[in-house]
Amino acid sequence: MAMNEQPIRSFDMVCEILDRYHKDSTKLIPILQDIQDQYSYLPEDIMTFVSTALGISSSTVYGVATFYAHFTLAPKGKHIIKVCDGTACHVKKSDLLLDVIEKELALDKNKKTTDDGLFTLETVACLGACGLAPVLVIDDKVHGLMTPETTLALIHQIKEAEKNEQN
C-alpha cells in the first residue's frame, strides 16, 4: 500500500485499546501510544473518536498529541533514521551526519519524510549512548562512532536492499 493512501479503517482496534484502559481518560497517553504503535501515527478521525469515547474534548486530545515529541500526526516513512543531537554527539559533530543525510535524501528542516515514503529523518535529544558518540539509530538498531562516510554507506545499503526487494 502506498504511503499516502488512506487505509479503510475500522474502529475495532481502537475500541480494543480503549477497553484495555477501561476508557479511563487519565490513561490518555498510553492509549495514544498504543494507537500510534498500530498506525505509526495518530490519524485525525481516530483522535476524535478517542475524545468522544473518553468523554473529553477533542482539543484536549489534540493538545496532548501535539505536546509530546513522541506523537506524530503524519504518517512516517518505512525506515526511521534518528540522529542523536545530545551534547556528547553534538560535541562530536553530529550535525555533519544530519547534513549529509538531508542532502542525500533531499530533506530539510520542514520536510522530514522522503517523497517515496522510504525514509523519515528525526533528531532526538539524547539516546543515552553517549559513549559511542556520534550515534544514529536506523529502525531501532544503534550505530555508534559514525562518520559522514559510514552514514552514507548505511543509507545506500538500505536503498540497495529496497531496490532488490522491488525486483
Binding site: Q33, H70, K92, V124, G131, V142
Partner: protein, 627 residues
C-alpha cells in the same frame, strides 16, 4: 502466598553456581551491544558446543561447564565489547567475534591469560587484574556496584548478592520513622538535580494523613548527555524496585509507578521482567515478605517531553494531561498524583537506598563531603579518552575524573592532551561550565552552586580547546527553547529571544548592545520562570559569559571566531599548492567570484563570495578550504 526465604535462596544459588568452572560476563549495555556483543554471545555458545562444552544461561541454570551472563552496562563503553572471566577476574577489552575461540581455548580451558586482549596501561603493558585499571580503581561503585556484574533479568542473581534483604528488614522490623531517620542520617540527597534531602522528603509525606499514598520513580532522564539512570534501570532494575519498597514503607505508600522515558525501550522491558519476578516471589503484591503490607508497582512510559522531569509536570503527564508544571506549594508530598500525598524520587536516589540500609547509614555518610554525602554517578562523555559511566564520592576533583579515570582530553586531531580541556559542561542544559581553574576543586552540591553550575543529573561533557563556547551556549538554548512547555511567558518568549540573540552573535549580526541585552534577559528568565526548566535555562549562557566573555566579544566586536568554528566569520580560499587550475570551481560559482587561468592557481574574491560552498564541493583536489 508463601513468604520468600532470602537466606535459603542465597544458599541454593551458591550451590548451583559451584558446578560451573567459570563465570563469563559479557557486557550487554547499549554501547557494547552496538559494537557486536550480541554476536560474541552467539559465538561463545556456538564454539563451546563445537568443542563438546556447554554454557548455562541465567534462569535455567542447567548442568553445564560454564555460566554465561549478559550484564548491564559496565561503564567502560569506549573499550567495548567487554568480556570478563571469573574467578580470575580478567577483563578483555575490544573483543571481536574472531577472538572468542582463543578465549575459550586459552583462558577457559587452559587457564591462561591472553595478553593482546588486555587493557594497555601507559607503558603499553597489559593489565590482567581489572581492579588495577585506573578507570575502575579510582571509582567507588556503590549504587552501580552490581550493575555490570549480575544478570539484570535474573532475580536470583540479585538475591544471591544480598538483594532484597534491606527491604525485607525495613518492611518486617523497622518503623516508618526509623526508615526516614536512617535516610536523614545517611545524608542522602536527591540525585536528579535538586539535591533535596531524601529523608526529609519522605518524612514530609509520612506525616500526611491519607488512605492512599503514591511512590513514583522518576526515570524521565532527559538531559542530553546523561545516561546514568538508563544504565541502572537496564543493569540492575531490582535495586530500583527495592528502593521503592523501602520508600513505600517509610511513607505508608500503597502504590508505585515508574515513569520511564520512551527512548529507553530496553529499560522498560527489563523493569517489566523484574516486576514480574518480584511479584512471583511475594516481594510485590499483597502481604509482601509475609507482612500485612500491600504494595505493587506499575510502569508508565513517557512520551518525549523534557519538562516532565520536573515533578509537578510529571504528575500532570501521569494524569493524562500536557506535562506542564504547577506552582509549588502545594508540594507533591501534600497534594500529588490524583490529589494524594506522593513521593517522587530519581532512579539513582532509589537505587542508593537499599545499599545505604545494608551498609549502614553511618558508614554511607563517611563517603563524600560535609554537605554532600555518598557517591554520585556521572556520564563522562565528549572529547575524552575513556567515555563511559562512572561513580565517585562527592568531593572528587575534575582532575581525578577527567585525567585519572577519563584518561585525558582528546583534541580534534586525536591526540591526548592530558588535562588541557577548554571547558567541562556539568549538569546539562541546566548546568554550567567548569574551566581548568576548577581542576582541583572538590565537586559537590555546594561548591558547584557557588560557581554558577550544578550537579544536575550528572552529565559531564568534556570539550577540547577547539570548541566554540558561543556555539555550545546556543546548542543548550536551542534545546531548552524546544522543550519549554509554553506555560509561562518569560520562559516561552525569553528562551526564544535568547536563542535569536545568540544566532545574531554567531552570524556576525550582533551589535555592541547585544551582550548586555542577552545578560539582562538571562537574569529575567532566571528570576521570572515558574519551574526549574526556565529558572536554569539561562545557566549555560551566564556561565559561558562568566568564563569566556572575551570569546563572545571576539564574535561581536571583531567578527572573529577564535577557534574558527562559526562559518559566518570564515572565508573560502584556494590553496595555491593544491590547485591544478582546472577551473571547475569558477564554473560552479553562482556569483562569478572566482577567477584564474590555465597554469595559474585560481583566486576567490572575498567581497563577491556568498559563502555557499559550491566551490569546495566541486574541487576534486581539496584545494578549496575554509579559513
Amino acid at each position: 502466598m508463601n513468604k520468600i526465604d532470602l537466606a535459603n535462596h542465597q544458599k541454593q544459588f551458591r550451590e548451583v553456581m559451584e558446578q560451573y568452572n567459570a563465570r563469563i560476563v559479557i557486557c550487554g549495555g547499549t554501547g557494547c551491544m552496538a559494537n557486536g556483543a550480541g554476536e560474541i554471545i552467539e559465538a561463545f555458545h556456538r564454539i563451546l558446543e563445537e568443542k563438546g562444552l556447554k554454557a548455562a544461561v541465567a534462569i535455567a541454570k542447567e548442568p553445564a561447564d560454564y555460566y554465561m551472563v549478559k550484564s548491564g552496562c559496565q561503564g567502560f563503553c569506549q573499550m567495548g565489547p567487554l568480556v570478563t572471566i571469573y574467578p580470575q577476574e580478567v577483563l578483555y577489552v575490544k573483543v571481536k567475534e574472531c577472538d572468542v575461540e582463543e578465549i575459550i581455548e586459552k583462558t577457559l580451558v587452559g587457564g591462561e591469560i591472553i595478553d593482546r586482549l588486555l587493557y594497555r596501561d601507559e607503558e603499553d603493558k597489559g593489565v590482567s587484574d581489572m581492579h588495577h585499571i585506573p578507570f575502575y580503581s579510582k571509582q567507588k561503585r556503590t549504587a552501580l556496584k552490581l550493575c555490570g556484574f549480575i544478570d539484570a533479568e535474573d532475580i536470583d542473581e540479585y538475591i544471591a548478592n544480598g538483594g532484597y534483604t534491606s527491604s525485607e528488614n525495613a518492611v518486617l522490623s523497622m518503623t516508618p520513622e526509623e526508615v526516614c531517620q536512617s535516610m536523614l542520617e545517611s545524608g542522602l540527597r536527591g540525585r536528579g538535580g535538586g539535591g533535596f534531602p531524601t529523608g526529609k522528603k519522605w518524612d514530609l509525606t509520612r506525616i500526611q494523613k491519607s488512605d492512599i499514598k503514591y511512590v513514583i520513580c522518576n526515570g524521565d532522564e532527559g538531559d542530553p548527555g546523561a545516561f546514568m539512570d538508563r544504565c541502572i534501570m537496564e543493569g540492575n532494575p531490582h535495586s530500583v524496585i527495592e528502593g521503592m519498597i523501602i520508600a513505600a514503607k517509610a511513607i505508608g505508600g500503597t502504590e508505585g509507578y515508574i515513569y520511564v522515558r520512551t527512548e529507553y525501550p530496553l529499560a522498560v522491558e527489563r523493569l517489566k521482567t523484574a516486576l514480574k519476578h518480584a511479584r512471583e516471589n511475594n516481594i510485590l503484591g499483597k502481604g509482601i515478605f509475609g507482612s500485612s503490607m500491600d504494595f505493587d508497582i506499575h510502569i508508565m512510559e513517557g512520551a518525549g517531553a523534557f519538562v516532565c522531569g520536573e515533578e509537578t509536570a510529571l504528575i500532570a503527564s501521569m494524569e493524562g494531561r500536557r506535562g506542564m508544571p504547577k506552582p509549588k506549594p502545594p508540594f507533591p508530598a501534600q497534594n500529588g498524583l490524583f490529589g494524594k500525598p506522593t513521593v517522587i524520587n530519581n532512579v539513582e536516589t532509589l537505587a542508593s537506598v537499599p545499599v545505604i540500609l545494608s551498609m549502614g547509614p553511618g558508614k554511607y555518610a563517611t563517603m563524600g563531603t560535609a554537605g554532600s554525602k555518598g557517591t554520585k554517578t556521572f556520564a563522562l562523555t565528549g572529547n575524552v579518552a575513556h567515555t563511559g559511566l562512572i561513580e565517585v564520592p562527592f568531593g572528587s576533583t575534575l582532575r581525578e575524573i577527567v585525567v585519572d579515570i577519563g584518561g585525558g582530553v582528546i583534541d580534534n586531531d586525536g591526540n591526548n592532551v592530558g588535562p588541557d580541556f577548554k571547558a567541562v559542561q556539568i549538569g546539562g542544559p541546566s548546568g554550567g561550565c567548569l574551566t581548568q581553574e576548577h581542576l582541583d576543586m572538590p565537586l559537590d552540591y555546594e561548591t558547584l552552586t557557588a560557581i554558577g553550575a550544578m550537579v544536575g543529573s550528572g552529565g559531564l561533557v568534556v570539550m577540547n580547546q577547539q570548541t566554540c563556547m558561543v556555539q555550545i551556549a546556543r546548542f543548550f538554548m536551542q534545546f531548552t527553547q524546544n522543550e519549554s512547555c509554553g506555560k509561562c511567558v518569560v520562559c516561552r518568549e525569553g528562551t526564544r529571544q535568547m536563542l535569536n540573540l545568540l544566532d545574531d552573535i554567531i552570524q556576525g549580526e550582533a551589535t555592541e548592545d547585544t551582550l548586555a541585552l542577552l545578560e539582562e534577559l538571562a537574569h529575567t528568565v532566571k528570576i521570572g520562570s515558574l519551574c526549574g526548566l526556565g529558572k536554569t535555562a539561562p545557566n549555560p549562557i551566564l556561565s559561558t559569559l562568566r568564563y569566556f566573555r572575551k570569546e563572545y566579544e571576539d564574535h561581536v566586536l571583531r567578527h572573529h571566531c577564535p577557534v574558527g568554528v562559526c562559518k559566518a566569520f570564515l572565508s573560502y580560499k584556494v590553496v595555491s599548492s593544491l590547485c591544478k587550475s582546472c577551473g571547475l570551481c569558477a564554473k560552479k560559482c553562482p556569483v562569478n567570484a572566482i577567477s584564474g587561468e590555465k597554469g595559474v592557481p585560481y583566486v576567490i574574491d572575498g567581497e563577491r563570495c556568498i559563502q555557499c560552498g559550491a566551490c569546495m564541493d566541486a574541487c576534486k583536489f581539496h584545494a578549496v578550504v575554509l579559513g
